[in-house]
Protein backbone atom coordinates (compact mmCIF):
# COMPACT_ATOMS: atom_id res chain seq x y z
CA UNK A 1 0.00 0.00 0.00
CA UNK A 2 1.44 3.30 -1.02
CA UNK A 3 0.70 6.65 0.42
CA UNK A 4 -2.07 7.14 -2.12
CA UNK A 5 -4.70 5.01 -3.80
CA UNK A 6 -3.29 3.40 -6.93
CA UNK A 7 -4.07 4.25 -10.55
CA UNK A 8 -4.68 7.96 -10.14
CA UNK A 9 -4.62 8.44 -13.90
CA UNK A 10 -7.24 5.80 -14.54
CA UNK A 11 -9.48 7.18 -11.82
CA UNK A 12 -9.28 10.59 -13.42
CA UNK A 13 -10.16 9.18 -16.84
CA UNK A 14 -13.17 7.36 -15.49
CA UNK A 15 -14.43 10.25 -13.36
CA UNK A 16 -14.05 12.62 -16.30
CA UNK A 17 -16.00 10.42 -18.71
CA UNK A 18 -18.76 9.89 -16.15
CA UNK A 19 -19.13 13.58 -15.44
CA UNK A 20 -18.90 14.60 -19.09
CA UNK A 21 -21.75 12.18 -19.77
CA UNK A 22 -23.81 13.28 -16.76
CA UNK A 23 -23.50 17.05 -17.11
CA UNK A 24 -21.76 17.70 -20.38
CA UNK A 25 -18.16 18.70 -20.97
CA UNK A 26 -18.55 22.46 -20.58
CA UNK A 27 -20.61 22.18 -17.40
CA UNK A 28 -17.94 20.08 -15.73
CA UNK A 29 -15.17 22.02 -13.96
CA UNK A 30 -11.90 20.16 -13.55
CA UNK A 31 -12.35 20.54 -9.80
CA UNK A 32 -15.41 18.26 -9.99
CA UNK A 33 -13.44 15.55 -11.76
CA UNK A 34 -10.61 15.61 -9.26
CA UNK A 35 -13.09 15.66 -6.39
CA UNK A 36 -14.73 12.48 -7.67
CA UNK A 37 -11.32 10.88 -8.21
CA UNK A 38 -10.15 11.91 -4.75
CA UNK A 39 -7.33 14.09 -6.05
CA UNK A 40 -6.52 17.75 -6.51
CA UNK A 41 -6.82 19.95 -9.55
CA UNK A 42 -3.07 20.34 -9.76
CA UNK A 43 -2.64 16.60 -10.08
CA UNK A 44 -5.08 16.46 -12.98
CA UNK A 45 -2.83 18.75 -14.99
CA UNK A 46 0.20 16.66 -14.16
CA UNK A 47 -1.43 13.68 -15.86
CA UNK A 48 -3.18 15.46 -18.73
CA UNK A 49 -2.10 18.49 -20.67
CA UNK A 50 -5.59 19.95 -20.56
CA UNK A 51 -9.23 19.23 -19.83
CA UNK A 52 -9.77 17.69 -23.30
CA UNK A 53 -6.84 15.31 -23.31
CA UNK A 54 -8.31 13.11 -20.59
CA UNK A 55 -10.75 11.71 -23.17
CA UNK A 56 -8.00 10.77 -25.62
CA UNK A 57 -5.69 8.72 -23.47
CA UNK A 58 -5.89 5.71 -25.78
CA UNK A 59 -5.04 7.49 -28.99
CA UNK A 60 -1.30 6.91 -28.83
CA UNK A 61 -1.93 3.20 -28.34
CA UNK A 62 -4.17 3.22 -31.39
CA UNK A 63 -1.44 4.93 -33.38
CA UNK A 64 1.10 2.29 -32.49
CA UNK A 65 -1.36 -0.47 -33.28
CA UNK A 66 -2.04 0.94 -36.73
CA UNK A 67 1.59 1.66 -37.50
CA UNK A 68 2.52 -1.89 -36.51
CA UNK A 69 -0.24 -3.29 -38.70
CA UNK A 70 1.10 -1.38 -41.69
CA UNK A 71 4.59 -2.63 -40.98
CA UNK A 72 3.32 -6.19 -40.61
CA UNK A 73 1.50 -6.22 -43.95
CA UNK A 74 3.05 -8.49 -46.62
CA UNK A 75 5.82 -6.78 -48.56
CA UNK A 76 3.87 -7.39 -51.75
CA UNK A 77 0.76 -5.59 -50.47
CA UNK A 78 -0.12 -2.29 -52.10
CA UNK A 79 -0.04 0.82 -49.84
CA UNK A 80 -3.83 1.03 -49.73
CA UNK A 81 -4.01 -2.62 -48.75
CA UNK A 82 -1.55 -2.02 -45.92
CA UNK A 83 -3.53 0.84 -44.45
CA UNK A 84 -6.72 -1.18 -44.84
CA UNK A 85 -5.11 -3.79 -42.61
CA UNK A 86 -4.34 -1.07 -40.10
CA UNK A 87 -7.98 0.04 -40.02
CA UNK A 88 -8.94 -3.59 -39.64
CA UNK A 89 -6.83 -3.78 -36.50
CA UNK A 90 -8.30 -0.53 -35.20
CA UNK A 91 -11.81 -1.79 -35.87
CA UNK A 92 -11.12 -4.74 -33.63
CA UNK A 93 -10.34 -2.44 -30.72
CA UNK A 94 -13.50 -0.41 -31.27
CA UNK A 95 -15.74 -3.43 -31.59
CA UNK A 96 -14.42 -4.93 -28.36
CA UNK A 97 -15.70 -2.00 -26.31
CA UNK A 98 -18.59 -0.73 -28.35
CA UNK A 99 -20.45 0.72 -25.40
CA UNK A 100 -17.53 2.69 -24.04
CA UNK A 101 -16.63 3.95 -27.51
CA UNK A 102 -20.21 5.04 -28.16
CA UNK A 103 -20.48 6.86 -24.86
CA UNK A 104 -17.19 8.63 -25.41
CA UNK A 105 -18.16 9.60 -28.94
CA UNK A 106 -21.46 11.10 -27.80
CA UNK A 107 -19.50 13.37 -25.47
CA UNK A 108 -17.10 14.39 -28.23
CA UNK A 109 -19.87 15.03 -30.73
CA UNK A 110 -21.59 17.38 -28.29
CA UNK A 111 -18.67 19.79 -27.98
CA UNK A 112 -16.66 21.74 -30.54
CA UNK A 113 -13.43 21.81 -28.55
CA UNK A 114 -13.52 18.04 -28.25
CA UNK A 115 -14.23 17.64 -31.97
CA UNK A 116 -11.16 19.78 -32.65
CA UNK A 117 -9.06 17.58 -30.44
CA UNK A 118 -10.39 14.47 -32.14
CA UNK A 119 -9.42 15.87 -35.53
CA UNK A 120 -5.85 16.58 -34.49
CA UNK A 121 -5.58 13.05 -33.11
CA UNK A 122 -6.76 11.72 -36.46
CA UNK A 123 -4.22 13.96 -38.18
CA UNK A 124 -1.56 12.52 -35.93
CA UNK A 125 -2.72 9.02 -36.82
CA UNK A 126 -2.50 9.97 -40.47
CA UNK A 127 1.08 11.06 -39.94
CA UNK A 128 1.91 7.78 -38.23
CA UNK A 129 0.40 5.82 -41.11
CA UNK A 130 2.34 7.88 -43.64
CA UNK A 131 5.57 7.28 -41.72
CA UNK A 132 4.89 3.54 -41.65
CA UNK A 133 4.24 3.56 -45.40
CA UNK A 134 7.49 5.41 -46.07
CA UNK A 135 9.25 2.71 -44.07
CA UNK A 136 7.85 0.28 -46.61
CA UNK A 137 9.46 2.28 -49.41
CA UNK A 138 6.38 4.15 -50.53
CA UNK A 139 7.19 7.53 -52.04
CA UNK A 140 6.41 10.73 -50.14
CA UNK A 141 3.31 11.79 -52.05
CA UNK A 142 1.83 8.31 -52.22
CA UNK A 143 2.38 7.73 -48.52
CA UNK A 144 0.80 11.01 -47.57
CA UNK A 145 -2.27 10.65 -49.74
CA UNK A 146 -2.83 6.99 -48.94
CA UNK A 147 -2.71 7.80 -45.24
CA UNK A 148 -5.13 10.68 -45.65
CA UNK A 149 -7.44 8.48 -47.69
CA UNK A 150 -7.40 5.90 -44.93
CA UNK A 151 -8.37 8.55 -42.40
CA UNK A 152 -11.22 9.63 -44.66
CA UNK A 153 -12.45 6.04 -44.80
CA UNK A 154 -12.10 5.70 -41.04
CA UNK A 155 -14.03 8.91 -40.40
CA UNK A 156 -16.93 7.97 -42.66
CA UNK A 157 -17.06 4.30 -41.75
CA UNK A 158 -16.76 4.94 -38.04
CA UNK A 159 -19.50 7.56 -38.20
CA UNK A 160 -21.87 5.15 -39.90
CA UNK A 161 -21.06 2.51 -37.32
CA UNK A 162 -21.66 4.90 -34.40
CA UNK A 163 -24.88 6.29 -35.82
CA UNK A 164 -26.22 2.84 -36.68
CA UNK A 165 -26.48 -0.43 -34.86
CA UNK A 166 -23.27 -0.88 -32.95
CA UNK A 167 -23.74 -4.63 -32.80
CA UNK A 168 -23.11 -4.77 -36.52
CA UNK A 169 -19.42 -5.24 -37.25
CA UNK A 170 -17.43 -2.17 -38.27
CA UNK A 171 -15.10 -3.89 -40.72
CA UNK A 172 -17.56 -4.38 -43.59
CA UNK A 173 -18.51 -0.71 -43.33
CA UNK A 174 -14.87 0.24 -43.76
CA UNK A 175 -14.53 -2.12 -46.71
CA UNK A 176 -17.55 -0.52 -48.33
CA UNK A 177 -16.00 2.91 -47.87
CA UNK A 178 -12.78 1.77 -49.54
CA UNK A 179 -14.85 0.51 -52.46
CA UNK A 180 -16.80 3.74 -52.80
CA UNK A 181 -13.61 5.77 -52.60
CA UNK A 182 -11.99 3.68 -55.33
CA UNK A 183 -15.00 4.06 -57.58
CA UNK A 184 -15.23 7.80 -56.99
CA UNK A 185 -11.51 8.31 -57.57
CA UNK A 186 -11.60 6.33 -60.80
CA UNK A 187 -14.18 8.62 -62.31
CA UNK A 188 -13.11 12.09 -63.37
CA UNK A 189 -10.86 14.26 -61.22
CA UNK A 190 -8.81 15.32 -64.19
CA UNK A 191 -10.32 18.79 -63.86
CA UNK A 192 -7.70 20.46 -61.71
CA UNK A 193 -4.79 21.27 -63.92
Amino acid sequence: MGRWEPNARGRLEQAALELYVERGYEQTPVAEITKRAGLTERTFFRHFADKREVLFAGSSMLEELCADAVAAAPATAAPMTAVAAALDAAAGVFEERGDLVGLRQSVIDANAELRERELIKLASLSGALADALRERGVDELGAWLTAEAAIAVLKVGFRRWIDGDRERPLRPLLAECFDVLRTASAQGAVGAG
Copy 2:
Protein backbone atom coordinates in the same frame (compact mmCIF):
# COMPACT_ATOMS: atom_id res chain seq x y z
CA MET B 1 -17.26 60.59 -39.31
CA GLY B 2 -18.83 58.23 -36.86
CA ARG B 3 -18.12 58.03 -33.21
CA TRP B 4 -15.43 55.42 -33.87
CA GLU B 5 -12.85 54.69 -36.52
CA PRO B 6 -14.30 52.46 -39.23
CA ASN B 7 -13.55 48.79 -39.88
CA ALA B 8 -12.90 47.71 -36.32
CA ARG B 9 -13.02 44.07 -37.34
CA GLY B 10 -10.45 44.49 -40.08
CA ARG B 11 -8.12 46.40 -37.78
CA LEU B 12 -8.34 43.58 -35.25
CA GLU B 13 -7.53 40.99 -37.90
CA GLN B 14 -4.51 42.92 -39.11
CA ALA B 15 -3.19 43.74 -35.64
CA ALA B 16 -3.59 40.10 -34.60
CA LEU B 17 -1.70 38.71 -37.60
CA GLU B 18 1.08 41.25 -37.13
CA LEU B 19 1.49 40.44 -33.47
CA TYR B 20 1.21 36.68 -33.95
CA VAL B 21 4.03 36.97 -36.49
CA GLU B 22 6.15 39.29 -34.35
CA ARG B 23 5.89 37.50 -31.00
CA GLY B 24 4.08 34.27 -31.68
CA TYR B 25 0.50 33.36 -30.91
CA GLU B 26 0.93 32.25 -27.32
CA GLN B 27 3.02 35.26 -26.35
CA THR B 28 0.36 37.66 -27.59
CA PRO B 29 -2.35 38.55 -25.06
CA VAL B 30 -5.63 39.69 -26.56
CA ALA B 31 -5.11 42.99 -24.74
CA GLU B 32 -2.08 43.66 -26.96
CA ILE B 33 -4.10 43.13 -30.11
CA THR B 34 -6.87 45.45 -29.04
CA LYS B 35 -4.36 48.03 -27.91
CA ARG B 36 -2.78 48.09 -31.35
CA ALA B 37 -6.20 48.25 -32.98
CA GLY B 38 -7.31 51.06 -30.67
CA LEU B 39 -10.14 49.06 -29.14
CA THR B 40 -10.93 47.21 -25.92
CA GLU B 41 -10.64 43.55 -25.11
CA ARG B 42 -14.40 43.27 -24.75
CA THR B 43 -14.86 44.41 -28.33
CA PHE B 44 -12.47 41.76 -29.62
CA PHE B 45 -14.75 39.05 -28.28
CA ARG B 46 -17.79 40.69 -29.84
CA HIS B 47 -16.21 40.25 -33.26
CA PHE B 48 -14.47 36.89 -32.78
CA ALA B 49 -15.58 33.93 -30.73
CA ASP B 50 -12.06 33.42 -29.40
CA LYS B 51 -8.41 34.32 -29.84
CA ARG B 52 -7.95 31.74 -32.62
CA GLU B 53 -10.90 32.68 -34.75
CA VAL B 54 -9.41 36.03 -35.76
CA LEU B 55 -7.04 34.15 -38.07
CA PHE B 56 -9.84 32.30 -39.86
CA ALA B 57 -12.14 35.12 -40.86
CA GLY B 58 -12.02 34.17 -44.54
CA SER B 59 -12.92 30.53 -44.12
CA SER B 60 -16.67 30.94 -44.51
CA MET B 61 -16.08 32.83 -47.75
CA LEU B 62 -13.91 29.98 -48.97
CA GLU B 63 -16.65 27.51 -48.11
CA GLU B 64 -19.22 29.39 -50.13
CA LEU B 65 -16.80 29.71 -53.04
CA CYS B 66 -16.18 25.97 -53.08
CA ALA B 67 -19.83 25.03 -52.64
CA ASP B 68 -20.77 27.35 -55.51
CA ALA B 69 -18.09 25.83 -57.71
CA VAL B 70 -19.46 22.35 -57.08
CA ALA B 71 -22.97 23.55 -57.89
CA ALA B 72 -21.71 25.25 -61.05
CA ALA B 73 -19.98 22.16 -62.41
CA PRO B 74 -21.62 20.58 -65.48
CA ALA B 75 -24.40 18.18 -64.60
CA THR B 76 -22.52 15.45 -66.45
CA ALA B 77 -19.37 15.91 -64.37
CA ALA B 78 -18.46 13.11 -61.98
CA PRO B 79 -18.45 13.97 -58.25
CA MET B 80 -14.67 13.93 -58.08
CA THR B 81 -14.51 16.26 -61.08
CA ALA B 82 -16.90 18.67 -59.39
CA VAL B 83 -14.85 18.89 -56.20
CA ALA B 84 -11.70 19.26 -58.29
CA ALA B 85 -13.31 22.36 -59.81
CA ALA B 86 -13.97 23.62 -56.29
CA LEU B 87 -10.32 23.22 -55.32
CA ASP B 88 -9.41 24.97 -58.53
CA ALA B 89 -11.45 27.95 -57.44
CA ALA B 90 -9.91 27.87 -53.98
CA ALA B 91 -6.43 27.68 -55.47
CA GLY B 92 -7.12 30.92 -57.31
CA VAL B 93 -7.80 32.71 -54.02
CA PHE B 94 -4.64 31.37 -52.43
CA GLU B 95 -2.44 32.22 -55.39
CA GLU B 96 -3.69 35.79 -55.49
CA ARG B 97 -2.34 36.54 -52.01
CA GLY B 98 0.52 34.09 -51.68
CA ASP B 99 2.48 36.26 -49.25
CA LEU B 100 -0.39 36.76 -46.84
CA VAL B 101 -1.36 33.09 -47.02
CA GLY B 102 2.23 32.03 -46.35
CA LEU B 103 2.59 34.37 -43.39
CA ARG B 104 -0.69 33.20 -41.90
CA GLN B 105 0.24 29.56 -42.40
CA SER B 106 3.57 29.99 -40.65
CA VAL B 107 1.69 31.28 -37.62
CA ILE B 108 -0.76 28.37 -37.71
CA ASP B 109 1.98 25.78 -38.14
CA ALA B 110 3.77 27.09 -35.08
CA ASN B 111 0.88 26.47 -32.68
CA ALA B 112 -1.14 23.38 -31.86
CA GLU B 113 -4.34 25.22 -30.94
CA LEU B 114 -4.30 26.97 -34.30
CA ARG B 115 -3.68 23.69 -36.14
CA GLU B 116 -6.71 22.27 -34.37
CA ARG B 117 -8.81 25.19 -35.49
CA GLU B 118 -7.54 24.82 -39.04
CA LEU B 119 -8.56 21.17 -39.04
CA ILE B 120 -12.09 21.89 -37.92
CA LYS B 121 -12.37 24.53 -40.63
CA LEU B 122 -11.30 21.94 -43.18
CA ALA B 123 -13.86 19.53 -41.73
CA SER B 124 -16.49 22.21 -42.12
CA LEU B 125 -15.38 22.72 -45.72
CA SER B 126 -15.67 19.00 -46.25
CA GLY B 127 -19.22 19.13 -44.95
CA ALA B 128 -20.07 21.98 -47.30
CA LEU B 129 -18.63 20.07 -50.27
CA ALA B 130 -20.61 16.98 -49.29
CA ASP B 131 -23.79 19.01 -49.03
CA ALA B 132 -23.18 20.51 -52.46
CA LEU B 133 -22.61 17.05 -53.91
CA ARG B 134 -25.83 15.75 -52.39
CA GLU B 135 -27.60 18.68 -54.05
CA ARG B 136 -26.31 17.25 -57.32
CA GLY B 137 -27.93 13.94 -56.52
CA VAL B 138 -24.84 12.13 -55.32
CA ASP B 139 -25.63 9.44 -52.77
CA GLU B 140 -24.77 9.92 -49.10
CA LEU B 141 -21.71 7.71 -48.94
CA GLY B 142 -20.27 8.90 -52.24
CA ALA B 143 -20.75 12.54 -51.32
CA TRP B 144 -19.11 12.11 -47.97
CA LEU B 145 -16.09 10.20 -49.22
CA THR B 146 -15.58 12.36 -52.28
CA ALA B 147 -15.60 15.45 -50.10
CA GLU B 148 -13.14 13.92 -47.65
CA ALA B 149 -10.91 12.86 -50.53
CA ALA B 150 -10.93 16.42 -51.83
CA ILE B 151 -9.86 17.71 -48.42
CA ALA B 152 -7.06 15.16 -48.38
CA VAL B 153 -5.89 16.42 -51.74
CA LEU B 154 -6.15 20.02 -50.59
CA LYS B 155 -4.16 19.33 -47.43
CA VAL B 156 -1.33 17.58 -49.24
CA GLY B 157 -1.22 19.84 -52.27
CA PHE B 158 -1.42 23.01 -50.20
CA ARG B 159 1.34 21.78 -47.92
CA ARG B 160 3.65 21.14 -50.85
CA TRP B 161 2.84 24.55 -52.25
CA ILE B 162 3.54 26.30 -48.94
CA ASP B 163 6.75 24.41 -48.27
CA GLY B 164 8.01 24.94 -51.81
CA ASP B 165 8.30 27.86 -54.13
CA ARG B 166 5.11 29.84 -53.72
CA GLU B 167 5.51 31.44 -57.12
CA ARG B 168 4.80 28.08 -58.69
CA PRO B 169 1.11 27.64 -59.35
CA LEU B 170 -0.87 25.55 -56.88
CA ARG B 171 -3.27 24.00 -59.36
CA PRO B 172 -0.88 21.51 -60.99
CA LEU B 173 0.12 20.29 -57.53
CA LEU B 174 -3.51 19.58 -56.74
CA ALA B 175 -3.97 17.80 -60.07
CA GLU B 176 -0.95 15.63 -59.30
CA CYS B 177 -2.45 14.76 -55.93
CA PHE B 178 -5.71 13.70 -57.55
CA ASP B 179 -3.72 11.46 -59.89
CA VAL B 180 -1.73 9.87 -57.10
CA LEU B 181 -4.88 9.29 -55.08
CA ARG B 182 -6.59 7.62 -58.03
CA THR B 183 -3.63 5.35 -58.62
CA ALA B 184 -3.34 4.45 -54.95
CA SER B 185 -7.06 3.77 -54.63
CA ALA B 186 -7.07 1.57 -57.72
CA GLN B 187 -4.50 -0.79 -56.23
CA GLY B 188 -5.52 -3.10 -53.43
CA ALA B 189 -7.71 -1.89 -50.57
CA VAL B 190 -9.79 -5.05 -50.66
CA GLY B 191 -8.20 -6.10 -47.40
CA ALA B 192 -10.80 -4.76 -44.97
CA GLY B 193 -13.70 -7.08 -45.09
